[in-house]
C-alpha cells in the first residue's frame, strides 16, 4: 500500500481529499510540519485557505524547508492553492512561495466573475503524468480567484478558458499541480488521483 501525507494548514476541508486517496487505495497521514523524517511515497498540498496564512502555517511549524523535505524524489501534488505555492510569489499575499516552478500567481481578470467557480473544460496541451487516460475536453471543478503565470509555458500540460487561458495542470520534475480540484471532479478526478498514486508507487 502506498503511504501518503497531506499537509494541513488548518484552513479547511482536507477530509474529501483524504477520503478520495483512501478510496484509491492509499494510506494517508495528515501532517502539520516538515520536521519529522519524510517516510512518505508522496505529499499532497491541499487546495483550501489563503496564500499567506498557508505559507505561514508551514514556515512557523517547520524548521525544515519544503524543498529539503521533498527533495528531487518525493512526488508532490499541489491542488489549487497547493499548486500556487509551487511558484515564486502570489498577488494574494506578500509571503514567498516555494519557488520550485518559475513564475508567479496573478489575480483573474475583473472582466469575469471571480471566483472562477464551477465545471470547466480541460484543453490538453501535451501528454503528462496526471492526464494519462483523461480525454481532451473533460470537465473538472474549479474554484479559485488567482491563476498561475509560469515563466515557461512548457510546464503547462492543460489549460482552461475563462476569459484568459488558465493553466489547469502543471508538471515539473516531481511537482504536479492542478488549479482545479480532482477530488471534487467526479470520475475524471478519480483517474487523476490514481495517476498520482501510480507515480508515488514507483
Amino acid at each position: 500500500m502506498v503511504n501518503l501525507a497531506i499537509f494541513d494548514y488548518g484552513a479547511g476541508n482536507i477530509f474529501s481529499l483524504k477520503n478520495s486517496l483512501e478510496q484509491a487505495g492509499a494510506s494517508v497521514d495528515v501532517i502539520t510540519s516538515f520536521d519529522k523524517p519524510n517516510v512518505y511515497s508522496g505529499l499532497l498540498l491541499p487546495g483550501v485557505g489563503n496564500f499567506d496564512p498557508a505559507i505561514k502555517s508551514i514556515n512557523e511549524n517547520s524548521k525544515t524547508k519544503f524543498h529539503d523535505y521533498v527533495k528531487e524524489d518525493t512526488p508532490v501534488l499541489g491542488i489549487c492553492l497547493g499548486m500556487e505555492m509551487f511558484f515564486e510569489k502570489s498577488e494574494e499575499g506578500i509571503e514567498k512561495g516555494f519557488n520550485v516552478i518559475d513564475g508567479e500567481i496573478v489575480v483573474l481578470p475583473s472582466t469575469m466573475k471571480v471566483p472562477h467557480m464551477g465545471w470547466n473544460n480541460l484543453e490538453i496541451k501535451k501528454s503528462g503524468t496526471i492526464l494519462e487516460g483523461v480525454d481532451d475536453g473533460s470537465w473538472v471543478y474549479f474554484v479559485h480567484s488567482y491563476r498561475a503565470k509560469p515563466k515557461f509555458d512548457d510546464v503547462i500540460t492543460a489549460e482552461s478558458d475563462y476569459g484568459v487561458k488558465v493553466p489547469a495542470v502543471v508538471e515539473k520534475n516531481n511537482f504536479f499541480g492542478t488549479q482545479f480540484h480532482p477530488e471534487k471532479s467526479g470520475d475524471v478526478g478519480k483517474i487523476m488521483i490514481q495517476n498520482f498514486l501510480n507515480v508515488c508507487k514507483k
Binding site: 484552513a11 479547511g12 476541508n13 477530509f15 474529501s16 477520503n19 478520495s20 483550501v48 485557505g49 489563503n50 496564512p53 492553492l81 475583473s110 466573475k113 471571480v114 471566483p115 472562477h116 467557480m117 464551477g118 465545471w119 470547466n120 473544460n121 475536453g137 470537465w139 471543478y141 474554484v143 479559485h144 480567484s145 478558458d161 475563462y162 480540484h181 477530488e183 471534487k184 471532479s185 467526479g186 470520475d187 478526478g189 478519480k190
Partner: protein, 267 residues
C-alpha cells in the same frame, strides 16, 4: 467553452432526514440524506447543498456526523449550511468534509463574520444564503419593482423564512459581496415549494447587482423552469429539491433536457 451551468440538488435536513416543505412550511419526509447524496453524485449532480433547516431555530449545531457521512460518499463540491454563526462553527463543518459553508441568519446578525471567514478559509468557501420575499409596503432606500400588482421590494427573511429583517435583499447581496462572500445562494420565499418556476425578477436583480456567482433557488417543478431561469438571467446555478427527491426527473434527465435547449451543462 467556458463554465457550464451548475445543477445542484439540495438536501433540507431535519432530525437526520431529508424533508421538503411548501413556502418554508408543511414539512414532509423525502428520504435518507446519505443515500440521496450518493445517488445524486452518481447521477451527475454538479454540486450538493445540505441545509440543516432547524439549526437556527433550535440554536443547535449542524449535524456533524451526518455531514461526514455525506462527504464520504460523494466526489463533487459540497456546501453545508444551517446555524453557522462563527468561524468555529464554519471550521467544524469544513473539518467534517464540507467545501463551502452556507451562512444566513448568522451573517445578518454579524456581517463581519463574512469577512472573517473569507480571510481565513478563502472567499470561495463562503456562501451567503439570502431568503427574500416580496413586500408591498414600500419604504425609502429600497430597490422597487413592479410586476403589475403595485410596487414592491424584496425583504430579507431569517430564521428559516420566519422573520422579516427590514433589509433590502438587493442591498444586502451587494454588501455580502463587498464583505467577502464567494457566492450567493438566493431563495425566493414566494416561489419556494410552488413548483411554478424560479423567481426571475428577484434572481435577475441580484445577479445584475453582484460580481460573484449566484445560485437560484425556490420554485423549480420541472426542467423547463431551469431553462427559463438560465435564459432569462445570467445566474450561474440552479438549485432544486422536489424534482430530484421524488424521482420524477433524475439529475441526468434534467441535464439532458437542458442541453436540448442549448444550455451548457456537464453530461
Amino acid at each position: 467553452m467556458t463554465l457550464t451551468k451548475r445543477i445542484i440538488p439540495c438536501l433540507d435536513v431535519k432530525n437526520g432526514r431529508v424533508v421538503k416543505g411548501l413556502n418554508f412550511e408543511s414539512i414532509k419526509d423525502a428520504g435518507d440524506p446519505v443515500e440521496l447524496a450518493a445517488k445524486y453524485s452518481n447521477e451527475g449532480a454538479d454540486e450538493l447543498v445540505f441545509l440543516d433547516i432547524t439549526a437556527s431555530n433550535e440554536q443547535r449545531e449542524t449535524i456533524k456526523e451526518l455531514v461526514r457521512k455525506v462527504a464520504s460518499v460523494i466526489n463533487i463540491p459540497f456546501t453545508v449550511g444551517g446555524g453557522v454563526k462563527s468561524v468555529d462553527d464554519a471550521r467544524n463543518i469544513l473539518l467534517n468534509g464540507a467545501d463551502k459553508v452556507g451562512i444566513n441568519t448568522g451573517a445578518i446578525n454579524n456581517p463581519t463574520v463574512i469577512t472573517e471567514l473569507a480571510d481565513l478559509f478563502g472567499r470561495q468557501c463562503v456562501v451567503v444564503a439570502i431568503d427574500a420575499k416580496r413586500n408591498y409596503l414600500t419604504k425609502p432606500g429600497v430597490t422597487l419593482f413592479d410586476e403589475g400588482n403595485g410596487k414592491f421590494w424584496f425583504e430579507v427573511f431569517i430564521f428559516g423564512g420566519k422573520k422579516g429583517t427590514g433589509l433590502d435583499a438587493i442591498s444586502w447581496a451587494k454588501k455580502a459581496d463587498s464583505l467577502g462572500a464567494g457566492e450567493i445562494l438566493l431563495t425566493s420565499i414566494d416561489a419556494d415549494g410552488t413548483k411554478n418556476g424560479y423567481d426571475i425578477t428577484l434572481t435577475k436583480a441580484v445577479v445584475d447587482s453582484v460580481s460573484i456567482p449566484v445560485i437560484a433557488s425556490g420554485g423549480c417543478g420541472e426542467s423547463s423552469h431551469m431553462v427559463d431561469i438560465f435564459e432569462k438571467s445570467d445566474v450561474d446555478a440552479a438549485l432544486a429539491a422536489t424534482i430530484f427527491h421524488y424521482n420524477t426527473h433524475g439529475v441526468n434527465g434534467v441535464k439532458k433536457d437542458l442541453r436540448e435547449k442549448f444550455i451548457s451543462v456537464r453530461l
